[in-house]
Subunit: 245 residues, 6 copies
């Protein structure tokens, strides 16, 4: 069985990580996983939310959103409807938790980084692309804050790297990095967030059509772990480039 775009089951789509996309943000990345394109900007502000003041610790949070026509049919704007939907809430929270997993709050000091992940075009895997790109934007923003001495000299707020990938079982076959058309046909769908050293930050598996057993779960985790290893390499490679090249 071959996939719609000819990939092997364990193959990522072409991934690009374009740093410095925005002239305003402290960190910004246009990340693409195939036709999925997400603009991730990182905003550094001094100070923390009220409930954290005086703690000496920083905060990192995220907001995810989709442009109305990022998808095949146009969705209403959440600003027009006057409220944020459950899916948006869920993904924003996931991105925030994932990035906080590699943050040392003490080292960050009482500063806040907000990651805005806006999906410009969607073709499956928007949340995993968002996490993967947001990490790079976060790294650039923290480097900026270190250069500006907003983060105290010698402090290293980042304790590691983090990336994410989707996996799923489509017609009994475990596949890596699902496109939209694969995603809708998946029996089981899983999003896995990993650190660069191969441990798990989040594992979210959902039986869409049929419950899954321990063996299937294992196969999906194998795929995801290997996929994240590749993504980690791509993140490091992107960060190794001089900004502006």
């Amino acid at each position: 069985m071959s996939r719609i775009d000819g990939r092997t089951p364990d193959q990522l789509r072409p991934v690009t990580i374009e740093r410095g996309w925005s002239k305003h943000a402290e960190g910004s990345v246009l990340v693409s996983f195939g036709d999925t394109k997400v603009l991730c900007t990182a905003t550094v502000t001094e100070g923390v939310p009220r409930w954290r003041k005086g703690s000496g610790e920083g905060w990192v949070t995220a907001e995810y959103s989709m442009l109305p026509r990022a998808t095949n049919t146009r969705g209403d704007r959440e600003s027009v409807r006057g409220k944020i939907g459950g899916r948006t809430h869920e993904i924003s929270r996931l991105i925030g938790r994932s990035l906080r997993a590699v943050i040392d709050y003490k080292a960050l000091g009482e500063n806040t980084v907000v990651l805005d992940c806006d999906v410009l075009q969607a073709d499956g895997g928007t949340r995993t692309a968002a996490i993967t790109g947001a990490y790079v934007a976060l790294a650039d923003a923290i480097a900026w804050a270190q250069a500006k001495k907003i983060v105290k000299p010698g402090r290293k707020p980042l304790t590691g790297t983090v990336c994410a990938i989707s996996v799923g079982i489509v017609g009994s076959v475990p596949l890596l990095d699902l496109r939209y058309e694969e995603d809708v046909r998946a029996d089981t769908d899983m999003n896995v967030v990993c650190t660069g050293d191969g441990r798990f930050v989040e594992v979210q598996g959902t039986a869409e059509a049929a419950p899954f057993d321990r063996r299937e779960l294992g196969a999906l985790l194998d795929l995801a772990t290997a996929g994240c290893e590749n993504l980690t390499a791509l993140q490091l490679e992107a960060l190794a480039r001089t900004l502006g090249e």
Copy 2:
């Protein structure tokens, strides 16, 4: 190491499932996992949401909420704030997906069941108690709909049973069914939704303090699977009782 309430690591809290709690709802259960108490009511209405009309298929959905003083400090009402928070959205969606995993939409016909899960008192594990109790309320509501011929004779909308439990790693020890005080100290926290035949409907593991590895994930799934087996037995036992006893 012993747990704050003297349980062994693989022991559930006392679980009670009180059916027929409400005189109005088609199905209703007051479920308790220790001090966590959730009132689950199932409402059957003929007809389905607009996007499903004419499909011949039914729909099952859920809404989760917490009373303001279900917790140790009072939380603002979401109705007063004018919007639903991300956590509430996330859990409502999880409960709905979990119950839909055991529903045959065709057999249900164009009818809708809404599960309302209102937490009267919280002490950890409110979402897992909600799923476990909601299943029993759903089963009663479907039996009611069958008796009323709202579901066509001979049709079996329920394809199995479903329940859920939380597990977590606290001080390196994997524990089953965390109380609130254990939950806040957990390094890793996982909610697992299982069918009665031991397969997974949802696996949601989150690294709260430290990323987890494959071995730890395995230990947590072992605990959860055994816990769900016990919950399934308690659900069946509750459903075997004559309503009103």
Copy 3:
């Protein structure tokens, strides 16, 4: 003419007042007037709303809500609709005013008590049950605050007791404590809030089907006054029991 449940016109439904229902709240009562069940919790917080700061005086307020399936047909959640309905607002305000009628703000000091009255099951008279139960929760919360010295020693924030009952004219007969089925058939409907010494805090009479005259108003007030006398006795009896029995 006999009533649907065999009561005499001036007879209350069975009333139960279960104190200490919640392990978290400073005061909590599950009150039932027949099949109407309301969970009332009292939350004490130090400090007062902004407009009252520096006054040396405390504040007492209330929020009323109904679970979606507390009634015979399911109602939409106000949190989902994103706004609070007029009826909810009206009753929340009534409960707050009623309880404030027996509060000495100076004696309370700059502390706030919030009464949450959540209707778990409705069968008429939810607002009167809420007021009656909330008073008992308030009394427990104030006793707690006195024990904790949050209220200064020797201060008595409660100046009396308060309870409430509904009355109405159904088929020309004035009736006490209407059930839902009586309520919908009533020509006139009145809610009366009394202090323990038999004076009025609120009198809200509404002609549902036909305007009422002075004589009918008098008959309803007679019934209500006697009903409140009974409720006062039940409140005092409940408060005389040791908490936890």
Copy 4:
């Protein structure tokens, strides 16, 4: 004791009822009770709300609002805050119920009348002025609908007249038609809605500072009944004038 404006305790403020204020509305009245000025417009539309369709019966409803600077200090607009306050809800509902007390829904047919009562200037008694003025606007709107044959020939949707007045106990003295400065000093405050034949549609008494007894309640009702008799005469007088004079 004399009142701030020299009135006797049982004296109304100067009341004016200016019909035909608006060139657009089917009925419109600028009513003033002293310095309280309320613009009441009645809008007739064919058809009824969804829940009433096919019943053959009409509907009457009301919306009350205050201009931001109708009062001594500016209040935020409810449109800007994005939600309607409890007080506004409460009064809108009261006005609607009061007017419906004199409506024969069958005779009205499947038509709706909306009464908009906008307070242009407030000095106590805005809700009672609104009810009194809205009745006259309603009467004009119904006459218009009869002339246009929207109401079927021979049908009389109005079964009587309705008006309202406030009363209160200020410094032990029962007073009629309180101005704002009297209202804030009142121990007890009552709004009474009467039909033209002297019966009660609503009696809403509230102990602001001290509970009231049966004798005080009686004195207030006496005052209100007499006041409403006067208002009824003023309403009939206004309606007897040819529109446009």
Copy 5:
């Protein structure tokens, strides 16, 4: 060609400016342009919005709204819909900008003036009537603030006068001060805000049916400039009268 009300193309409707309409507001004007009637109140408060604190400069802002039945068919209240519409936002912002054009913030000191412009009856030109009336209310409010020494002695916060008029091309003829029926038939519609010395504060021309050329634009500006000259005279005349006459 004569206009529906017999005016010449360059003729204003009868304009009245009634000062001191409200007993509460620091400045208040009931302005009418023919059947268009707008109540403008000016509220002075000490202090400025947060973003302006410590600047030593004041602020002037405006809120525009229409009563639901100001127009021929009833519009929903924005408070009931829970949000402010685009047209309301746009006009509120226009009024605020127009008035700020004649304000010396330094001279005003850290004080805020809010102009509320509520349309009681609409017949075209509500925004231009609002600006014209609001200026007069603002002038009265500033005089009040000067008398109360809220504005420091010798300071002149007003640097000039401002008024506004609508113009449009209807059936190839440029017309001044359009009534509603003219407005809906206009090919081009323009609102012009002028200072008393004949310069422009805002020029907003919109092609409703057909784009317009430079010559047509010129003709409209000629009309508007002359109309504003007349309005300026009427404003000054109104302000020259002793308040209360």
Copy 6:
């Protein structure tokens, strides 16, 4: 005097119009005016809003929004605040009106085109870039609808072209196409929307710091007319390219 980026007063920034940016939308353009970048997508749906049904005429509307970090400091998301701000409303309405100026509703038939204009990066002139880009996206979407026979054969819904540019007076010098830093220093700011044949669709001039006279208005219109001529040529050039090149 030279401009910050070395342009002459009557010179546009580099303008790029990238068609076919999105794989989902019927028309899509990434337009840039210097560092201002706006993604414009056009969505065609069969059918029209309720108020237009059965008219045989189509509808075109627009929604404008800015990503939170499109600007130098991060702005709150309107979806998170739960309401749309006045500026957003105003610009969305302007874009919609501008595009409708070149639409023949009858030729479009009962179809709707929604233009989404999302500012990815802002540096002044976002609304004029949005209009200019949206026209091209609209042209592509209409060509698509013609090819799909959603628009009837032989019908030409587009009656011309439309584009927009900002002009302003900075330090007494009239300038074309202001960058953000010029915009904030402008005394007068004007947005001009022109058709391809050089007539005006919208002229919105605002005195930011000082009122402007007729001569200044003339100079600004001269600049804008010439600028729009250039933009029209760029639009036609972009549309002449084969999509996908």
